[in-house]
Amino acid sequence: MKFKKPLLMFCTLALVAMLAACGNKDEGSQGSTSGTNNDTAALSGSVLAVGSTALQPLVEQVAQKFMADPKYSKIQVQVQGGGSGTGLTQVAGGQAAIGNSDVFAEEKLKDADADKAKDLIDHQVAVVGIAAVTNPDVGVDSLTKQQLIDIFSGKVKNWKEVGGKDQAIVIVNRPASSGTRKTFEKYALGTSTEDIKGSIQEESSGTVKKIVAENPGAIGYLALSYLDDKVKTVKYDGVEATVDNVKSGDYPVWHMSICTRRASLNQKLKHSLITWLPMKYKKVT
């Protein structure tokens, strides 16, 4: 998986800006999909895209551009949230044409559901970087991987043990099933952690940010798009969490956002939205 990283170095952070930019590049993308132009000319129908709320704004924007394209004007695209799990379940079950997910289908649909995943094809559309954030007052600028592991596994309970103030550490986690948490555990910690007594779990990144900003001694993790002055972004092993560092491969904590579809999906539709989506981005980068 790692070797694909440089290929897909288009970052979600600048997504909106990219969308604005790619609007001008319609002609460029037509060349690459020219083989299907004749098929798509008469396309009509509706497409339902369900899943990750993190990916939803992006897909919504793309869907609007897609529908604005005269070639696809007869196709209605509906975008809904509901979470990565919902997206994968619905696309595997056939209720939705496209499932948006922050986790690969194979990772989520395990054991009994493994068969469902075989029929799904992932399209990688975006990269989301995730950074550890703390309350601005804890006085820590950079944390090593080992320090983060110690904090999130409950071994280190006070900020002074990692060079900060004398302040108890409050962990703000996402739920165990969250894609953001899985990514953070996999790439930043390298191990999965239990929920420690006294730790806080919040369903949305927005609430995590609010709690980390207000609660003295709090530490959490957020997608790069959520970061601002209210929380302190901590360097990971001395590397700053920025779009450029994700692009260059120096900053390792990020995940791929995918749009899945069933392999058996209508042949014509296959060539429309789902290929259209990543196509645009490849052109931009």
Binding site: A112, S177, G179, I200, Q201, K210
Partner: protein, 311 residues
């Protein structure tokens, strides 16, 4: 009874053609209500069937033991240390602790408010206070949660040791939410009280306080308790507002100000991220089944109280 009614219609119809229309209306009305009731029963039965079939799959299909599920205190659905563990005791504890505490805070307030409205200043008290309390019932739970997170949690954090998040914050938010339920039921019971009771108490020379504490309150107690139980049922089922202020750590807390979780908040927290049919998702359904079972128990208690009320 039915035969009598139909016979009655038959006679009237034979007397004059005018009643034909009424007869039709009666028939349409009856079949319409029957249809609605039938649909309602169908919906209820299918919800129960759906939740039960999903919820029981955890035990039948996935082989989680019921004892471990209900009394296990470790919740690790994704198996961070190897095998997934599903113990929902912390959630059950959290649900009971928050709703009981909420009822404890809200009951005295609501009972006093309804006494104020019916006994102490019935003239303007009811006119002024009732709309305000009804307004409380209309505020969406997300607003309560947001206010709780921005006002109650920081206040508790600064006043007491701990993070401010936890059972205390949840109970305070819930107590305001269930205030209208208890108040309106208690007010109804108090206004339905026969005047004679109060008047004879006054005639015997009792003061207002003696009348309220010795005569009125004991008489309306079952009705007030019904209100308290209904309020608790609402608190038990509330998810959003609680989830925002309780912290959601799957552990039994050591203090009122430590992060913990309830059945409802645990379900909403993980719902969107689990895949339908997986063990994790089934475990959430089992928790929903437990919640539904608790609601039945609450309804049962209310029924028993109502029966006592009639005597």
């Amino acid at each position: 009874m039915k035969a009598m009614k139909e016979g009655h219609v038959q006679i009237e119809r034979s007397r004059s053609g005018k009643f034909q229309k009424h007869h039709m209306e009666d028939l349409i009305g009856r079949s319409y209500t029957m249809l609605c009731v039938g649909l309602l029963i169908l919906i209820i039965v299918s919800i129960i069937y759906f939740v039960a079939s999903k919820g029981l799959a955890t035990f039948i299909q996935d082989g989680v033991s019921l004892g471990d599920f209900l009394f296990g205190s470790k919740w690790d659905p994704e198996g961070s240390q190897g095998t997934p563990v599903f113990g929902v005791l912390p959630f059950i504890f959290g649900s009971f602790a928050t709703s009981l505490l909420a009822a404890l805070i809200a009951s005295p307030l609501s009972i006093c408010a309804s006494l104020f409205m019916t006994e102490i200043v019935p003239s303007w008290g009811k006119k002024l206070l009732m709309p305000v309390i009804e307004l409380l019932a209309g505020i969406p739970s997300v607003v309560y949660g947001f206010v709780g997170l921005t006002v109650v949690v920081p206040f508790l954090r600064d006043t007491f040791p701990g993070q401010g998040i936890g059972i205390a914050a949840g109970a305070i938010v819930l107590s305001i939410m269930i205030l209208p339920t208890i108040t309106s039921i208690a007010t109804d019971a108090l206004s339905a009280l026969p005047r004679g009771l109060k008047e004879s108490s006054f005639a015997l020379g009792a003061t207002r306080w003696q009348t309220i504490s010795k005569v009125i309150l004991p008489t309306v107690m079952p009705a007030v308790l019904t209100g308290v139980v209904l309020g608790m049922a609402r608190a038990f089922g509330e998810a959003l507002a609680v989830q925002m202020v309780i912290g959601n750590a799957p552990h039994i807390p050591r203090s009122l100000f430590e992060s913990t979780s309830t059945l409802t908040s645990a379900i909403t927290l993980d719902m969107g991220n689990t895949v339908m049919g997986s063990v994790h998702s089934n475990a959430l359904w089992s928790m929903a089944l437990a919640l539904m079972f608790m609601t039945f128990v609450f309804v049962l208690i209310v029924r028993v109280l109502e029966r006592r009320n009639r005597i």
